[in-house]
């Protein structure tokens, strides 16, 4: 021991530790990847949506020239197939853009070489493309989503999303909260030890399985209950209910965490004042955990809105603006999956449309998540 006492002046100078700095650098980069992800999401969604809203897009009309045309010709002979042209449409054949002035049966009068393109000759059977424009207002308020005819109103998709989410919430919130209260306040240890893992299993099952469940179990059940003529094979109710079931564990587990975070001392305080178990649970514990529960609810809504596979499987394809839960309707997510599932050309309007919907979805869920986090943070502060 005396060695220290006899030590000369201590050497307190810093030692070199290059390894520590390298490690720190590396893990900082790892953390920064998340920022890249967000930038990626915003950039991708933003850029493609911008394309969707502003840039020129050429939609196949399935029309061809009935005969070859010369560069000077202003009346174009057209085939019968495909969609109808209207005056004011901007069309493209090959590299040349034209503006439709008038349509007369199978003839269309055009201004040649519009948008500073060169008028040129076109062979017979050359494909006609039509220019598409979508403006934001139409997108947000339009009640029809029919890309084939140029209607890009997102409301049917949003409506279906909200309907499904509402149904899901109606199932998940009361059940989830009740389960949470039961587990945290009533269930004996042994029961909880069994139930909690079961609920976790429920939470761990992939959504595609829930989709299967909705389609092959819940839908037939609904049809049996309400009649096959009332309930369509693909319907929002079934998807909503099953999403609700899917979300129960989320709600119950987050709520239970919040309830359990309420210190035991509060319960004892309550009992000590002569409160019953119910009074303790509902009037002391639940209010104390309220913001945690609220956060769970908000997150649950966000999850429901973003849920994809169940609606893709069970809610049906095809946008449909309806308030009847037993009808089929396509949600935003369902639409994205359906459209992207096929082999899409990267330039098609359908392809860019999923980015616009994606952006909307992203913004909605982001808002909800941020609110939820805020609430959680406030809640945590109370007990720290």
């Amino acid at each position: 021991m005396t060695e220290i006492a006899t030590q000369p002046g201590p050497d307190l100078r810093p030692k070199r530790r290059p390894g520590e700095q390298i490690v720190q650098m590396l893990i900082f980069l790892a953390a920064a990847i998340s920022i890249l992800t967000t930038i990626g999401i915003v950039y991708v969604l933003g850029r493609e949506s911008l394309k969707f809203f502003t840039s020129q897009m050429w939609e196949e009309t399935n029309k061809q020239l009935a005969a070859a045309v010369s560069p000077e010709q202003t009346w174009l002979p057209l085939t019968t197939s495909g969609s109808r042209l209207q005056p004011g449409d901007v069309i493209r054949i090959g590299a040349e853009v034209m503006e439709v002035v008038a349509v007369d049966g199978l003839q269309a009068q055009v201004i040649r070489g519009a948008q500073s393109t060169q008028a040129m000759a076109h062979p017979a059977a050359a494909d006609l493309y039509r220019e598409q424009h979508i403006n934001l207002w139409q997108f947000l308020t339009g009640t029809r989503w029919e890309p084939q005819i140029g209607h890009f109103g997102v409301l049917p998709l949003v409506n279906a999303t909200l309907m499904v989410s509402l149904i899901a919430m109606a199932v998940a919130l009361p059940l989830g909260l009740a389960i949470a209260i039961y587990l945290s306040e009533y269930a004996p240890r042994k029961v909880r030890d069994v139930l909690k893992p079961m609920l976790e299993v429920l939470a761990g099952i992939p959504t595609v399985v829930y989709g299967y469940f909705a389609l092959t179990f819940v839908t037939p059940l609904l049809r049996r209950l309400f009649g096959a003529d009332v309930v369509q094979i693909y319907n929002m109710a079934s998807a909503g209910i099953v999403i609700g079931i899917l979300i129960i564990p989320l709600v119950s587990s987050m709520s239970e965490d919040a309830l359990r975070a309420v210190p035991d001392s509060l319960r004892q305080a309550s009992y000590g004042l002569g409160a019953t178990r119910l009074e303790t649970a509902l009037k002391v514990v639940v209010p104390a955990a309220l913001s945690g529960i609220a956060a769970a609810f908000i997150l649950a809504i966000s999850r429901a809105i973003g849920e994809t596979m169940i609606v893709a499987i069970a809610a049906g394809a095809g946008p449909n603006l309806t308030f009847n839960p037993f009808q089929s309707a396509e949600t935003m997510t369902g639409h994205i999956v359906r459209i992207s599932g096929g082999d899409l050309s990267y330039d098609s309007i359908d392809y860019t449309s999923i980015f616009a919907i994606g952006l909307l979805l992203f913004l909605i869920t982001l808002t909800l998540n941020i609110i939820s986090q805020r609430v959680v943070r406030r809640f945590r502060e109370v007990y720290d």
Partner: protein
């Protein structure tokens, strides 16, 4: 001089599952006196204290044998409702645990669930005054109880306990989480409260027991680590002239 009894343990035995935690305790608690329970860690002080208002019912596996007589009735009789018992025998805990409600609500809540019919504002004020807290909080009754300092929170908890007008207040190390000054405030408060209430206080701090209590019960670990009442008597006697060697060793710090 025979004092009137507030509550009394008779042949009390408490078990946690198979573990005999407390053995054969006979402990009288006198009315309007402060009775301190001291003893080494794990000797069952808290266990005995909780048995006085059936808080042990909430501990899984806990079992009580023997009697705790309160107003001529054994509170463990099957026809006694623990909820009733707990209203009359309040409790204050080691860590201040106000509800995350307003100060006012903290005090009013217990009375409200117990169907209090009188003037609530008045009750809140009386209780806060009795807990020597009124002056400090009267201008901010709407603020959260958690916004108070530790010592104030503990007094709030005392006010809350008082508001349901208990006979007896049990305190389990009520000041052990507080700094010395807050501790002294609580001790002064306890002495004032003893004029109206009977207080039983568990404390690790012998000096605190010495300072504050009228009677002291010294618990000790008996055979098989079962807690037992080693000595009971007026505090002054216990601390200046204990009868048992074990008590002497404990209070002079020569134990173990």
């Amino acid at each position: 001089m025979e004092q009137p009894l507030a509550i009394e343990a008779r042949n009390l035995n408490i078990y946690y599952g198979d573990f005999h935690a407390v053995r054969d305790v006979n402990l009288p608690v006198y009315k309007n006196k402060i009775t301190a329970i001291i003893g080494p860690s794990g000797c069952g002080k808290s266990t005995v204290l909780r048995s006085f208002n059936r808080m042990n019912d909430l501990v899984p596996g806990a079992r009580v044998e023997g009697e705790v007589r309160y107003r001529g009735k054994n509170i463990y009789d099957p026809d006694v409702d623990p909820v009733e018992v707990r209203r009359r025998i309040g409790m204050v805990f080691q860590k201040p645990n106000p509800f995350p409600k307003s100060i006012y609500e903290n005090v009013a809540w217990g009375a409200r669930i117990n169907g209090y019919q009188g003037d609530m504002d008045e009750l809140v004020e009386t209780s806060l005054r009795a807990a020597a807290l009124w002056d400090e909080v009267k201008d901010k009754l709407g603020q959260s109880g958690l916004s108070l300092s530790g010592g104030q929170q503990q007094r709030l908890c005392i006010a809350r306990a008082i508001a349901v007008r208990p006979d007896i207040i049990l305190m389990d190390e009520p000041a052990s989480a507080l700094d010395p000054i807050a501790t002294l405030k609580i001790e002064d408060l306890m002495r004032d409260l003893a004029e109206q209430y009977t207080i039983i206080v568990v404390t690790h701090n012998m000096q605190q027991a010495a300072r504050v209590s009228h009677y002291t019960a010294f618990f000790n670990l008996g055979p098989q680590r079962a807690g037992m009442l080693e000595e009971f008597g007026p505090t002054e006697k216990i601390f200046t002239m204990p009868e048992k060697k074990a008590t002497e060793d404990y209070i002079t710090g020569r134990f173990g």
